[in-house]
Symmetry: C2
Subunit: 447 residues, 2 copies
């Protein structure tokens, strides 16, 4: 991309949103601001903390270095900012007036619209820098897992955009949780449209996949199994590296762009949030919004919405556990249901993770986060209400956060309190209408 002075100017112009806010120049890292000591990733073999050298066989070096960073602010390279601009950042901050009217609540509800990205979710925020660093370091292929398909399509698209920008060819190979692969065929097509190769996981293309299939040919899969497959592929292919869409410190750092933008947007409108809400699977969209906001608005409550089918935050045990069901990767310290926990096939595939990002668990164990777990039917009902009032169909994952926001708004109505709720609107549900169809037909399993 040749930046002439003309295109520079017009970039800068189009970079400005309605309030003159531009794309952040730095990420925020919560590590120096943790309430509890940092818990390192450990090796299951030695029980010792993983070193950067241990991770570099799996991840690009720049990403590994970020993983171990204790710097509060980390500069965002200019080319990555350009790519963020290309995918539609700064994302809008929108007030849900029609939802408020429908609820007859004194509360004000705002969403940070991460659904406007090319693949419909916040996942591009970390996919772009991950693909960028990989391509810069000569990696030829990124392998990854995906639940609902949000992450896989974000990485496929980002690899494509980075390839165009750097005039190279970065491929993607995606292992997609089988229950989502079957429920959401369109996500698969979207990934292929961006040039990715996609397998249903467990697949018969890896040893770990074959093992799970031999035990149960109808295994619906899980994020844990798919991670194992993608890791195995990266380890056995010299030119490939692995890419993870959540959980890691580095991913949470990338996602901080959500919160940093939001702070600026709230500031110019003179809004002070009382509640910060996000859904939690691995934890990255929640952390992306909540961590920067926590510093700016220390009085605000942090509310994490999760699935009752996979209640790691509210019922998980805080301990070291394998990050993946296949026990190939390292152990992380988080709230876990156990790496062998069988997660029901809820439509919110992105929330089907047995554990939690260590940084999120750090704040949770300090009492700084309030978890709320929701059943599938009430979540889709919240999605229907949002659709009918605001014309926005949330992803089932995101609908958990909307459900929490609605509950808080109704509590405000009962208690006659003024509340200002800010929600991470992590993704749209246009590929999840099969779940909505089951909900409308009354055939939804209420996990």
């Amino acid at each position: 991309m040749v930046s002439t002075s003309t295109s520079q100017n017009s970039n800068i112009m189009s970079e400005m949103n309605e309030f003159g806010i531009s794309i952040p120049k730095k990420y925020y890292n919560v590590v120096p601001d943790l309430p509890n000591p940092l818990t390192p990733i450990i090796s299951p073999q030695t029980g010792e903390p993983i070193t950067p050298a241990d991770l570099e066989f799996l991840f690009p070096k720049q990403l590994v270095s970020l993983e171990f960073s204790d710097q509060r602010f980390i500069p965002i390279p200019e080319e990555i900012r350009e790519l963020y601009l290309q995918i539609g950042r700064v994302t809008p901050l929108k007030r849900l007036r029609k939802l408020e009217e429908f609820l007859k609540t004194p509360a004000r509800i705002y969403i940070k619209r991460e659904d406007v990205s090319p693949t419909g979710s916040h996942k591009t925020n970390t996919a772009i820098p991950q693909a960028y660093y990989a391509a810069k370091e000569g990696v030829r292929k990124l392998t990854t897992e995906t639940g609902a398909g949000q992450w896989g399509s974000a990485l496929s698209a980002s690899a494509r955009f980075v390839s165009e920008l750097l005039d190279t060819e970065l491929l993607t190979e995606v292992f997609m949780v089988r229950s989502s692969y079957d429920q959401k065929p369109f996500r698969k097509t979207l990934m292929r449209l961006f040039g990715a190769e996609v397998h249903a996981s467990p697949s018969n293309t890896t040893e770990i996949g074959k093992k799970f299939l031999s035990e149960d040919t109808n295994n619906p899969g899980s994020l844990g199994i798919a991670i194992s497959e993608a890791v195995e592929r990266a380890v056995t292919d010299q030119e490939a590296k692995y890419s993870l869409g959540s959980v890691l410190n580095s991913v949470l750092i990338h996602q901080s762009i959500i919160g940093i933008e939001a702070i600026e947007q709230l500031k110019v409108r003179e809004i002070v949030p009382t509640h910060i809400v996000g859904c939690v699977g691995g934890g990255s969209n929640f952390a992306g919004l909540a961590f920067p906001l926590r510093i700016q608005f220390p009085e605000a409550k942090l509310v994490a919405a999760e699935s009752s089918a996979c209640p790691a935050l509210s019922k998980g045990e805080l301990r070291y556990d394998f990050a993946d069901s296949g026990k190939l990767g390292p152990k992380i310290y988080g709230h876990t249901l156990g790496h062998d926990y069988k997660i029901p096939p809820v439509h919110a595939g992105g929330l089907r993770y047995h554990s939690t990002a260590p940084l999120v668990s750090n704040l949770l164990s300090a009492g700084e986060i309030e978890p709320r777990a929701y059943h599938q039917t009430e979540v889709f009902e919240a999605g229907r209400i949002l659709t009918q009032t605001e014309g926005l169909v949330p992803a089932p994952e995101t609908a958990h956060a909307i459900k929490a926001a609605i509950d808080i708004a109704l509590e405000a109505k009962s208690s006659h309190e003024e509340k200002t709720i800010l929600v991470s609107y992590s993704g749209h549900g246009l590929f999840d209408l099969k779940g909505y169809q089951a909900y409308l037909d009354g055939t939804l399993n209420n996990y």
Copy 2:
């Protein structure tokens, strides 16, 4: 909706886009500026022009009055502007720099992004005023047809939003072309999510539907048949009126909001388009952009992209023909393939119409519009290119316009001409990935 002075202010503030452009206060009507005499709609029984009284049994009065208007500018009621604001207007004007770079063309390509509406297309521009006038006049239900499902979901959503605004209950009943109903089940779910009742057309719920089914139980349907069913339902239900998503003068007037906004957006950026491009089924999104632009930029070429499977503009005969295959409705004067023309089941359901809006045909017959017809495979290839370069997946209908824009940009490259192409980006293709899947699998029928 109670507009306090505070909410007024914040509405006005959020109404402004990055260039301070606000929602137009008037629609534009091409009738006074036609190159040829206006051709009235005629009654098939009498052969005489239809009068307003003839249409009022079918449509809300306000709409009928608009249908016969010869005023150049028509005020947009404040409540409709409020609803336009709610659905995300002013829509963005975006330059496709990455596509230009990929094509290595000196041409500049801009799109007017109608895909950002809640249901993903330009159709809400007319659905909102139609639902608004119906509700104001005490209509309880709107019946309609839909091809790809864009129109049906736009009307369902708009009826919902209008019901909230006016504190009433306006229902929708949608007859969806069976080939799309089968290919695009998610559109059906979206309509239901907004509260609509949806039938596959031909259906066994109307006399005309039963007739078509008795001749061929596998009839894939067409817009013409579905129109007949929706009209029959409206005529036989006292409290229902019919709603049409294209073709009518009134619809083209509503869609002029696209072009009026675009003129303002081009002006502040000092852009002078040389080519105005849109896809044509009935003709409303094309006319919506092209008609106002034609007055402001008389030197610009108007290019209409259509399906080779349904080439009404390039191969149709200019004459009076039934607007619907069932011959229930009136006759219109347009470029027609014949009301009994069997249209192949291309994925671009919205282009499967045997005739053309009279106002579009008026300009076409005067040599003011250049039609270009495209085969299905090259259209999906254009969609893939746009996805990989810009991260935007166009609807198959819209991909016809993108194909035309790419061709014009490549012609500019050959001839070393400076060209500035403005495209009506009528809708996204996130519900059309089955077509893309067939394209990627090489199983697409190249109609």
